[in-house]
């Protein structure tokens, strides 16, 4: 028998059921850890520490979850706050703006697809954190712009701009993108 998120949350709140909370962690660990791994530019160790802190905080504040948003959206919000706290401590937010990368020579068509995946990972790291967060939430995790705005605690227009601007930068930074587009 499979419980819904609401069932599991109710069990945690009523009887402090750690197994029920464990099931929630199992369901959402992958998107939350993936989101944080992107935000930390692939630092899996830091991402996992932040993800653990995210779930512990969710456990402590679960009674404040009202159910008006999806549970995953609520979790992403906590995760993003955890990241921002650490980023502020490390002053990464102020230092992360990067310039345009140098143009690379075009590759052969056969190498394009696999290279493009690696290039995309690197190109995502070069985006501003707010653009990266908006793209990862909307384009990779399927959140709506409204949900992403809620997670990132910023106006809807800012999210839309960050997604558009981030995607435009990715297109420019992916040398094989035009080729991939035509295949």
């Amino acid at each position: 028998m499979s419980f819904t998120d609401a069932d599991l949350i109710a069990r945690v709140l009523s009887s402090e059921d750690q197994h029920a909370f464990g099931e929630l962690v199992r369901r959402y660990q992958s998107p939350v850890r993936g989101f944080l791994a992107r935000l930390t530019r692939g630092d899996a160790h830091l991402a996992d520490d932040l993800a653990q802190e995210t779930f512990v905080k969710a456990w402590r504040k679960l009674q404040t979850y009202r159910g008006s948003a999806k549970f995953s959206t609520w979790l992403f919000g906590i995760a993003y706050n955890e990241y921002r706290t650490v980023a502020r401590q490390r002053k990464e937010l102020a230092l992360e703006d990067v310039g345009e990368p140098p143009a690379e020579p075009a590759k052969s068509a056969a190498d394009s697809r696999s290279d493009l995946r690696l290039d995309l990972t690197e190109a995502l790291k070069e985006l501003h954190s707010s653009e990266r967060a908006a793209i990862v939430l909307c384009c990779q995790n399927g959140l709506t712009h409204e949900e992403a705005a809620q997670v990132l605690d910023c106006p809807l227009g800012t999210v839309k701009t960050n997604v558009l601007r981030g995607k435009e930068k990715l297109r420019r930074r992916l040398p094989d993108y035009q080729h991939y587009e035509s295949t």
Binding site: G34, W59, L120, G142, E146
Partner: protein, 108 residues
């Protein structure tokens, strides 16, 4: 409401690049690190409850008949019969405010 553009290869590429991350003991580590939320919740509510009971008793025993709005000369006379009931009201209000703030902080 936004929808990823199916015909945009960049959207397709981004979706492809979101692989499932295996648990590898992550859930176990989180569950082992969970604090005792119930105890924290209990203490904050016990604190609030005790303060509420104390406040109710204090209000019950307040000398209401002496609780008139004093004029300035009565206040300056420092007459305990005038000042004491108001001091009690102020104490009750302050302790209730403190308890609510402390409980809210505990919840954080």
């Amino acid at each position: 409401m936004n929808r990823p553009e199916d015909n945009d290869p960049l959207d397709a590429l981004l979706r492809e690049q979101n692989p499932h991350i295996d648990d590898d003991g992550f859930t176990g580590r989180v569950v082992a690190a969970l604090p005792r939320r119930r105890r924290i919740w209990l203490w904050s509510n016990i604190l609030l409850g005790l303060t509420a009971v104390g406040s109710a008793l204090a209000i019950h025993w307040l000398p209401w008949e002496n609780l008139s709005v004093p004029d300035l000369s009565a206040l300056l006379s420092l007459n305990p019969q005038v000042l004491l009931p108001w001091l009690l009201v102020l104490s009750v209000t302050a302790s209730l405010t403190w308890a609510i703030m402390a409980a809210a902080q505990w919840e954080d």
